[in-house]
């Protein structure tokens, strides 16, 4: 029986199926040429990868929790975040509703 872990979405078969198009688009961002193509025409690039309406809205809003709800896997979403110059502290702060400084303080506090 599957018990939920608070604040955590296991990237399982359900999520993998749901997120395939979005994650495939993010996988393409390993190439600098593709990252530039996304920035030049975001709408067209998302269409080419067949994102669902939910995925397109999540990408448009830059909302990481919404991207995860739409099946995004964080390792792939990090490639998208990189296009906007955001690192894992930035997206950590966004997802937990804190400032980046507060998020970094929380990390440091875990060591004490």
């Amino acid at each position: 029986m599957k018990q939920d872990i608070p604040g955590t979405t296991l990237f399982d078969g359900d999520q993998a199926q749901k997120g395939l198009a979005l994650n495939r688009m993010c996988f393409s961002f390993n190439s600098a040429e593709n990252r530039a193509a996304f920035l030049a025409d975001e709408e067209g690039y998302c269409r080419k990868f067949g994102l669902t309406a939910e995925q397109r809205a999540a990408v448009k809003s830059r909302n990481v929790l919404a991207m995860i709800a739409a099946g995004g896997n964080v390792y792939y979403l990090a490639k998208l975040a990189g296009i906007f110059g955001l690192n894992v502290q930035d997206i950590g702060a966004q997802q937990t509703g804190t400032t980046v400084d507060q998020f970094k303080q929380k990390l440091a506090a875990a060591g004490r």
């Binding site: 599957k2 018990q3 872990i5 608070p6 604040g7 955590t8 979405t9 296991l10 990237f11 399982d12 078969g13 993998a16 997120g19 395939l20 994650n23 495939r24 993010c26 996988f27 961002f29 390993n30 190439s31 600098a32 990252r35 990481v64 929790l65 995860i68 896997n73 964080v74 390792y75 792939y76 979403l77 990090a78 490639k79 990189g82 296009i83 690192n87 894992v88 502290q89 997206i91 950590g92 997802q95 937990t96 998020f103 970094k104 929380k106 990390l107 440091a108 875990a110 060591g111």
Partner: protein
């Protein structure tokens, strides 16, 4: 005969690659982590390994989620790194040892580990960053046999399965006729979570327990299901599976000779450990 000299386990956070490129090793933020490698450098200089078997997880460079092997063994003469999309410098390539790779592959399949064999395989930061940490300036002379474990798309292999995979690799190496000094590497972890409302989760107590049990009682850790590990160690803390496989491959008498643990590096509890592996014959001679 080939001889397994010991193992190194280390975190592989991508931002370490940037810190190296920007020469930040002595910055107050980075120093407590990089200092932990002084002993590793001493140990490697003393032990002079010829080959490193590296247990790691691919984060979307060589494998995509469409075809994702649970276990994959590299059998290439050369392993290249490429752009991973998050702005870390591309590493120089690493030499392989195809003959040893195929020996390991043959033995694993004979031992009923039905792995994927890869004659072409890109290796991502989870191989190249540990290499750059162990041999600064990318001055490694070892060849590698990379073995990837799926820690990304559930269902993941269990702690027990990964420990046993390592044991099978260890037996394979021990039966290799060539005189080689082989080290085992496990990369990733320790506790961290990048995604969801629990992002930033770190669990010092659980990390400490894992490190304490690894040398002497690795089987103790097989009581934790993957669900337990995610809960205790974070969604990406499951990279500890690579450490379990590394430990399994140390088939002799194992002692922990070095440990460094520091919170945080990026979003992660960073840890580095060195283990020595002495076979029974060497123990009797000592």
């Amino acid at each position: 005969m080939a001889k397994i000299i010991g193992g190194v386990a280390t975190t592989h956070v991508p931002s370490i690659g940037k810190a190296i490129a920007e020469q930040k090793q002595n910055d107050p933020y980075w120093k407590p982590f990089f200092k932990g490698f002084d002993y590793v450098h001493y140990w490697l200089a003393r032990e002079k390994p010829d080959v490193a078997v590296v247990f790691y997880n691919d984060h979307g460079l060589n494998f995509f989620l469409d075809k994702l092997p649970t276990f994959a063994v590299g059998a290439a003469a050369e392993y290249k790194n490429e752009d991973e999309g998050w702005g870390i410098p591309v590493s120089r390539s690493i030499a392989g040892d195809p003959a040893l790779s195929w020996h390991i592959i043959n033995n694993l399949v004979a031992d009923e580990f039905d792995i994927t064999m890869c004659q072409d395989m890109l290796v991502d930061h989870s191989v190249t960053i540990p290499m750059a940490l162990m041999w600064p300036g990318e001055k490694w002379t070892v060849r590698i046999v990379p073995i990837s474990i799926n820690t990304v798309q559930h269902p993941l292999p269990s702690m027990k399965r990964c420990l046993n995979l390592g044991r099978s690799v260890g037996r394979a190496v021990n039966s290799y006729p060539q005189d080689l000094r082989v080290m085992i590497v496990g990369t990733g972890g320790l506790s961290h979570q990048l995604d969801g409302k629990r992002a930033g989760f770190i669990n010092k107590e659980f990390d400490q327990l894992c490190m304490d049990k690894l040398a002497g009682e690795p089987d103790f850790l097989t009581r934790y299901s993957i669900h337990d590990v995610v809960e205790e160690s974070g969604a990406q803390g499951v990279e500890f599976l690579n450490w379990m496989a590394m430990r399994g491959a140390l088939t002799g008498r194992v002692t922990e000779v070095h440990r460094n643990y520091h919170i945080p590096i990026s979003n992660t509890a960073a840890a580095t450990m060195v283990f020595e592996n002495r076979d029974e014959a060497a123990r009797r001679a000592a």
